[in-house]
Symmetry: C2
Subunit: 347 residues, 2 copies
Amino acid sequence: MAPSAITIALDAMGGEAAPRAVIDGAAKVAPRHGALHFLVFGDEARVRPLVDAHPALRDRCDIRHTSEVVADDAKPSTALRQAKGSSMRLAIEAVRNGEAQAAVSSGNTGALMAMAKVLLRTLPGIDRPAIASVMPASKRRVVMLDLGANAECDATNLVQFALMGAVFARAVLDVEDPTVALLNIGTEALKGDEVVQEAARRLRAGELPIRFEGFVEGTGLMAGTVDVVVTDGFTGNVALKVAEGTARLIVDRVRTAFKDSWVAGLGYVLARRRFDLLKRQLDPQHHNGAMFLGLGGIVVKSHGSANDIGLANAIGVAADLVRGGTNERIMRELEHLGAPPMQRVAS
Amino acid sequence: MAPSAITIALDAMGGEAAPRAVIDGAAKVAPRHGALHFLVFGDEARVRPLVDAHPALRDRCDIRHTSEVVADDAKPSTALRQAKGSSMRLAIEAVRNGEAQAAVSSGNTGALMAMAKVLLRTLPGIDRPAIASVMPASKRRVVMLDLGANAECDATNLVQFALMGAVFARAVLDVEDPTVALLNIGTEALKGDEVVQEAARRLRAGELPIRFEGFVEGTGLMAGTVDVVVTDGFTGNVALKVAEGTARLIVDRVRTAFKDSWVAGLGYVLARRRFDLLKRQLDPQHHNGAMFLGLGGIVVKSHGSANDIGLANAIGVAADLVRGGTNERIMRELEHLGAPPMQRVAS
């Protein structure tokens, strides 16, 4: 393996379309990223033929057999206790042991987060990791977190998410000094519940190196008025999925509307290539791959219903994060902040 | 006035485009609803010329002068104490006094809700009113509540919202036995925070006449998998505005994409009428007008940035609610349920 090679640990058994989507996704993304290597954890009898079917995966995969799989409906605590030899756990252990630089899984989110916390540890100064991803908004791409790791958050959690989100945006959006806002039900200072009020007070105090812009509403999130939008995992997850559902609804309506009359139908045929391109841009599979932020290693969560395109995208996200040294950068920035500001965060 | 005439009290001074948008909106909607009459509360010097400019409003408006206006950034408690003669308050008082059957305002939501609660009283068995509206989803129109009246809710509030939402859906969607779900970050029984868990337990117990379907995610909300979606005012407001923002984003992208090449541009021109129709269907102004649910009178909240089209729509919603006897129906159903089930709700 060349020194610049990146090794990614794959949970081959996670997600609705596993293991086929995982292996097909790896085959799709491998040629795009020069020196990519995979540690594939899963049922060898099912995984081996899929790997062998792809010339693009020749000499790129080490298959590590395991017959254990974390169930989609397993409670995180159960998954932690029982599935010691699961494909999910072994993939994260490969990151801990330094065999791989990142792990990718489409499996049970709660179990994945619980295992990642135990095996990779939460970074110093961070109480809870968050799930972060990049959303396509109108004016720019926007980092949003938390997307579902923490259904309930206090003000301290939100302040820490703001800090991690800003560092993440610097690394993945390549924005020098990203603007950060809290998601709220109004932009006036008095709006929202006690948690966002308190988080805003602390962020406004200006003791952390964050360009805090106050509150943003759901419309502002999609307009892209700031680089980073911070919220609790309940609201963030709902917001992400409402955006997804609305996009699907409208793309369907546009198609139906254009097919509704002969003239409009002709217009649709003429514009079809552009429309298909747009549909592709809006397809959640092409935005698949969210990072667990705040851990001592890179874990990328792929959507449970991701297909090969989705998996290829999630693996690409993992490779980009490794190549960009994103997590080292986050760790360095948190360390650089040192104890005093983080204590202020926690106070 | 004929016995079938409907009188609507208008807060002429609320919202960004007041008073013009309010009066122009009334003029737009008046011809569509046969016997509509307006009590217009506002600055007569500004309102009178606007009314006189519309032949459609001749003999339909009583202008009641007041120079007091509730500020957009006023705290609800301040608005309640200070603005005793405000256009907003007088409009609600007209409903209380029976002079009008409904009030419409684009003003400060918090102040409007606070005044409505004090003047119209919350219905027996309901702790807190909610803001409800009908959203266009894929398979059907969906009633969603709360859209922002209560940033923080407990399980009892959510159960009461479910009950009111079901009655509202029967009245406005004309669905015999509407399906109801709680908005959550997963459909599995264990997902979400303690509040939705507890609300789901009580709704599953089946003691209330609600067809409870469990949890729905943001994607399911937009797909229209159920008739009524219940959530707290924070999440509901974010969900509504994310849907709005996403719709705007995609309509813009579609337009740009189609104008991007000569052939696609021709396609766009041919399909333009359909596209404009679709844009109109998706325009939030055409869905403007949310009902305050759980009060002893009808108050319709119009968006602060509503234009004349938005106001016409909100006034139309108010007229439909009066004509359909919606609030009487809600009161009757709550009464019919009687004390025992409502006590169970509160327990």
